[in-house]
Assembly symmetry: C2
Homo-oligomer: 895 residues x 2
């Protein structure tokens, strides 16, 4: 309760009416200055007019009737505290009038400095400061700011007047020039407003306060609020503060700094100081500031005080501070302090250091680092500072990092070029599952089509390679082998550089700055994160190499192993095709028997690597035609076989073409795939289950503890799951016969169809785990084909119909509601069940935050996203009640 | 409460312990006989052992300890009522022992007749009946039935014995033969059971009762229950009834009949009578029965009594009765009565007649007719009785009716043949939207692919034409123009006959039996149906002709007009294509301006026809590439243009091919279509809205009352709907400027994506109606592409994974749950909203029943399904409480 006044809150040595918690009423600045004053930090005294007054002014067009009296009373108090009189002729009190919204809107609203000067008091100021130029310049600044901000005089009118006096000179203005400028500015004001500049300091103040309120409604402020979703009704406070001057000679100066290094996080003050200068001189870059050590030499006592004060502020706010200060005639004033922006690397180090210093808890440290910032930190970057590089075009930054290599226009070309030791960038319209060998041989991918979750993007993130998709200004002519990128033409073998962080494409070889592998602070932070009881993080991994990397990065299991990726390998595709082209179940079983030992080998290696962690293996998912060449390719092969008069091959190819045509689907995404394959070709499922469990048995006999989890994809109904669970158990009984206690396998299903979500309860009766396939669930819930959606999704995002791409950040309202329904009924029917996430969203921090709130047991993501996901998951940790009170205190920061 | 006995319920002139409501305890037969006895219908007296006893017997393997005493006591009472003693040597009481389950299981369980006869009493029976042959034959029958049913003697053992006595003769057996057979049968029993036939009547009775209980567990009974979902725990009752004999000479006889004609519904007894015979003689067809009029001549009093009694039964049960009777020595007995099965036509007439007679209410009449039976009634049929026809193959009966015509192998051929006056059957792999002109020119469609909801099927039902889809044994070679159907080969112009009711395909011209258009009773029934306050029925119609037919059939509006069907017409496709191929919005607007008057004309005609009924017009829905020729066709055109050295055309075609390739989608069903087109090409929406409202304005100025309802397809989010509603309103303001009160338009949306269902509440804030597109909603909820699902859906249905095709009968558990969610939130947020259904399910009675239970306001269906839907909807009517009591009484029927 403020007993002094209704509308005005003071901050000064003898009276502080507000505190740091009152951001809404006093704005970030007003609340922060009150808090600093309470902490006995030397702050120039002043007072804040509340946001309530602003709202009233904006609504009624005038300030409350009792405001002038209250402001006058506060001014009298301020005069007492400062020991100067407002508008006094000999030693005038000058004030700044600044905006301060509850949420920081940097630079969006107006400020007027030096309020209180006039034709008379300017001479007093000159006398007191001992500098005619200082006083005149201060008055000149007031006229210019007041004119443009308060009186709406166009800014260029002042610039024109300045030019008339000064011409092109850039030297400091002489006393005579300043006098001329003052006269000219007063003329400008008279001319544009029809009135003279108000000489009455009280009138200046009143008009300045109202002008700041009005600046809440300026076009740029409105635009900024819209952009940042800040409520228009919030309003701004106005802080009136006595001026201090850093330009009063050699024992004066001004500086800005950070309590720790914002780039590296090193725990030392990092600040700059400019002697005999004002803040705007640093900002304008007219003079080069000195390191803070200069201040230590010039005025050791002031330096020591600054060091102590900022240290105190950091402790108080429990965060690195970004501060501004002024020294006026040997006396230190702090003008502002706020939480410092910092680079990813610094954020990690600062959080870890502060926790180690006992300033914050480990949980707080974990919450201090933005998970997505790790992506930047852990990827190599193009070193664009090494020269001048203009991007050719840009696409979607689909997978971070950077890549420099030679263009290959097909997967086969990539493999051939890679074999000769080249770094390859695969440049195609888009990639398909068949290109996997070429992608493996490349250092980065650039596609003309596709979104952030297209095939290329997903594979790239899985492989931890750089990828740019949907770069529309690319035109590839496969016949001529020419690729047009932006306005330039490239051919196979030409060099390109990709910046996966921004999606920009450069010609030639831009130097690379490798990502450091050595981040002890990050390792420490993640070890704390992993110790927190929040949903676990698994990795999506298909190969032993991926699996090993995942374990090294702290994955607690594999959440998704896509068995079809094993089918695409060159040595297997032939067998897979003969399995598909089989004319009977009998023929198919023969081909499957060939595949069995190969798959078993894959699984053995995976189980050995992961033991004793669980490995979730998804049964064959894609439609079979994905494993066959396209009808177009076969037709070409037939033509060439005909040319060679190889009639036998012609016949074989004709048969294949027929089969491909028979398997072709209008909408393969909704076609004959997933568990539908298992129900129509049970022999495929049986082969896979045998391979999994025989592999587990082999590894178990080596003394390890394989944990196979067999996952059935694309289930839509309880009955499908029931029949398939029975078939899996029956097959398992055959394999494990008599050795059941050696292998403990689990059966689960993906929830990736809306109907599976709606009917998850009954489905869950037949499984030990479910895993949400949020990619497909998003596709089906929206009816958006990921492969095709780019054509309208981009437009949706531009038009603001969607706030975010639902394939990147989970749609809580729609898809999320289905997930919530599913989890509720599954937990009710099968309380012991394990619930996971294995879509691309499992690596997106915002989505992870939501999944954790749903109470899932784990999320699974690409290995390159593991650390991001671990941190994001840990950040959902809720401290027990007694710790919560402490945790919240650090949130008080000034704007 | 039965004070006589715990296990046994009597029915006879002096004591009836049960009544018609006790089907569960006494079975259908026992309850029915008790009820008839209560109605003073002459029924041979008897008693029923309850289903409780059956359950106890099946569980414990023996009947309750007190049962023999209770049966003996009931038998004593029966002897008193019948005036004969059981097993008496001179005039024995004989009984039948029959099964009777609570739910009728015709022929599934066993019966033993003539129980109580033995070597001694057979002579008494001969003396009393005056016929040695009758008595011996009765004994012979007992031995045969008892042997096989009670003693498990194989039936062929008796047949073999009979053959040994009688050889191949079919003449009535002589006394001597009968004696030989009796001895032989006794020998068979002795041989197979090791014991003689039990002479003690009480032993016969006890064993027969237990045998009937056991027959509940026979293989065929178990199979039947599984098939018909009857609980195995229900058990059967056993009814013991004194025998009456219709074969006691000229004043005896037996007959069966119906209270009304079961084929035509004519309100006269329709019965047959056989003098001096037993029931099984009629069933066996050994003698030809006489019309019932013979009985009227022979025994007028008996006939009059029969007529009165069955009339009384019909009144009592309020339904047509199927009855059996026996006349023994001039005395009439009714043995059974139950609700009669009847043909569709008869069902309608009987229901209407009974309501007009005041026997049932109009609501009851409406509920008496199975809606799906109307389909058969209203379609022409192949007259297969006219010769011997073997089907070539069969497919799915996708649209009913029949068609006889000459084969066309393409849409263009169909148009050409139709132009020369031929009846055409369009035979293709499948049809697409581009074939619409050819379909219009054909009398029926036969496709090798596709399901009951494929394009061909949907269009056929819309056009009311016969269609068979998914006829797998068809192979069309487009190069040679030869179609292989089953084992025969056909070419264009050959005749085929299609039976849409069964899906059978015949070679040549099978004669047709046209459906009568004249069904006054049906018209009356439907007029009653339409008067009932249940969800209304609209029609899906795209043309004025369809609309007129729909109004004539009582449609209360158009629930779905697909504007794209208008785009495919030959005179428009060119303009549509230039609109799609436009290189800029400006070019597109020029093409759209050409389309505008054409579309406006379409709508004017529709509004004129429908005024003042509402017309729901769906904005353009399919992806644009559907309107372009296929890349394959363009390539062929380019080749021929090249041959003609028409380079300009080559260039144009090349451009088109590029555009087609750019528009090609991996999954068009989930692609750039529906409202996504309106958001990326708003000018298309604007053209359509203008066409709709300008048309409405024109028609309104003619003094009519057009009710345009503009429906936005494929909405997935509130924001899409909000933006489009604003755009439609803005466009409407332009068109209606100053004349707003002339046209009252509405905006609505389809709910056809899972996300739209989940978020229906917020979406509904911006519309006045929603309509569930259950086809797409089913596709997306299951992730089943209708075009592709046949390959696994058939297998699912065969394996019993699905009980019904979800594209035919709505999936209540999954899709339905989404609909329920949607309706709940929509009603809460927008209580005044109108909710409809416009998928194919809108014509399926079982689905309609469900939709009505969800509280929708209307369903919309193909015109050919209108009457089915009207009836199905009316059947969901719930009478106010006071009427309900009456309505339920008719449900008491015997088994």
């Amino acid at each position: 309760m403020n007993f002094f006044s209704k509308h005005v809150y003071r901050f000064g040595a003898d009276a502080v009416d507000g505190d740091g918690s009152m951001r809404e009423l006093l704005g970030g600045k007003g609340a922060g200055l009150a808090e600093m004053t309470l902490l006995a930090v030397p702050v120039p005294p002043g007072f804040t007019v509340t946001t309530d007054v602003c709202r009233a002014y904006l609504e009624l067009g005038k300030t409350p009737a009792d405001l002038p009296a209250e402001v006058k009373r506060a001014l009298r108090w301020l005069e007492g505290t400062a020991g100067k009189r407002f508008g006094n002729e000999r030693d005038p009190l000058l004030v700044s009038v600044r905006s301060g919204a509850p949420i920081s809107m940097p630079g969006m609203m107006d400020t007027v400095l030096n309020v209180g000067l006039n034709d008379v008091s300017v001479t007093g100021l000159a006398a007191v400061s001992g500098s005619q130029e200082f006083a005149l310049d201060s008055y000149r600044r007031l006229l210019q700011m007041f004119g443009s901000v308060v009186l709406d005089v166009p800014k260029d009118a002042f610039e024109k007047a300045t030019h008339e006096v000064r011409g092109e000179t850039t030297e400091a203005a002489s006393e005579a020039d300043l006098c001329l400028m003052i006269e000219a500015f007063k003329g400008v004001i008279q001319e544009h407003t029809g009135k003279p500049f108000p000489q009455d300091p009280m009138v200046q103040l009143t008009l300045a306060i109202e002008a700041v309120f009005r600046s809440w409604q300026s076009d740029r402020a409105i635009f900024y609020r819209k952009l940042n979703k800040i409520a228009d009704t919030m309003g701004t406070a106005v802080t009136v503060q006595s001026m201090v001057f850093g330009n009063r000679g050699e024992t004066s100066g001004t500086g800005v700094g950070f309590t720790r290094n914002p780039s590296t996080g090193e725990p030392h003050v990092f600040a700059e100081y400019l002697s005999n200068a004002q803040g705007e001189d640093i900002v304008a870059g007219v003079r080069t500031p000195m390191p803070i050590t200069e201040l230590a030499q010039q005025m050791p006592a002031v330096y020591a005080e600054l060091d102590a004060l900022t240290g105190q502020l950091e402790k108080h706010y429990k965060d690195v501070q970004d501060f501004e200060f002024t020294v006026e005639s040997g006396k230190l004033y702090l003008l502002q302090t706020r939480a410092a922006k910092r680079a990813a690397l610094a954020a990690v180090r600062i959080a870890v250091d502060m926790a180690n210093e006992g300033l914050i808890t480990r949980q707080e440290a974990v919450k201090r680092v933005k998970p997505s910032s790790l992506v930047e930190m852990l990827s190599p970057q193009l070193d664009l500072s090494a020269g001048t590089y203009a991007p050719l075009t840009s696409g979607l930054p689909a997978s971070p990092g950077a890549a420099v290599g030679q263009i290959a226009l097909s997967a086969n070309a990539a493999v051939a070029m890679h074999a000769t030791g080249k770094d390859v960038i695969l440049l195609t319209q888009e990639t398909t599952a068949e290109d996997i060998h070429g992608m493996d041989a490349s250092v980065g991918f650039l596609t003309a089509r596709g979104g952030a979750t297209s095939h290329a993007a997903v594979v790239a993130r899985g492989m931890g390679k750089c990828c740019i998709t949907g770069a529309k200004e690319i035109n590839i002519d496969e016949n001529t082998g020419i690729a047009q990128i932006g306005s330039e033409r490239f051919k196979q073998g030409d060099w390109l550089s990709l910046d996966g962080a921004t999606g920009r494409v450069f010609a030639g070889q831009v130097p690379m700055r490798p990502a450091s592998e050595d981040h002890p602070e990050l390792d420490q932070l993640l070890s704390w994160a992993l110790a927190m009881k929040t949903p676990q993080v698994r990795a999506n991994a298909d190969t032993p190499a991926d699996a090993a990397a995942a374990v090294a990065a702290g994955a607690v299991g594999i959440g998704l192993c896509r068995t079809e990726h094993m089918f695409f390998a060159a040595d297997r595709l032939g067998v897979v095709r003969s399995m598909i082209l089989a004319k009977s179940a009998k023929e198919r079983i023969v081909a499957l028997a060939e595949l069995l030992p190969i798959q078993q080998g894959d699984f053995e290696a995976l189980f050995r690597t992961m033991s004793p962690l669980p490995v979730t293996i998804r049964l064959l998912d894609p439609p079979l035609h994905e494993f066959l060449p396209s009808a177009h390719d076969i037709t070409a092969d037939i033509a060439s076989a005909r040319n060679e008069e190889n009639w036998e091959r012609c016949l074989t190819l004709e048969g294949m073409r027929k089969q491909v045509e028979a398997l072709t689907e209008a909408n393969p995404m909704m076609g004959h795939r997933g568990c539908r394959l298992s129900l129509t070709y049970p022999e495929i499922l049986q082969m896979q289950v045998k391979a999994i469990l025989q592999a587990a048995l082999v590894v178990a006999k080596e003394g390890k503890t394989p944990q196979p989890e067999i996952m059935v994809p694309l289930v839509s109904s309880e009955q499908e799951m029931k029949v398939l669970a029975e078939l899996i158990h029956a097959t398992a009984s055959e394999v494990l016969d008599g050795e059941k206690n050696l292998v403990n396998y689990k059966i689960g299903t993906m929830i990736e169809l809306p109907r599976a979500a709606v009917c998850a309860g009954p489905i869950s009766k037949h499984v030990s785990f479910i895993s949400f396939g949020t990619n497909d669930l998003t596709q089906m819930t929206y009816g958006f084909s990921r492969d095709d959606a780019r054509s309208y999704l981009d437009s949706y995002l531009e038009q603001g119909i969607f706030k975010a791409d639902p394939f990147i950040t989970i749609d809580r309202e729609g898809v999320g509601q289905l997930m919530e329904m599913a989890i509720r009924s599954v937990r009710a029917i099968n309380p012991g069940i394990k619930i996971g996430i294995c879509g691309e969203h499992g690596g997106d921090p915002e989505s992870i935050d939501y999944f954790c709130s749903l109470g899932v047991d784990y999320v699974s993501c690409s290995p390159s996203r593991l650390r991001v996901a671990q941190l994001a998951s840990a950040q959902t940790f809720t401290a027990p009640p007694q710790e919560e009170a402490r945790a919240s205190s650090h949130e008080v920061v000034t704007a």
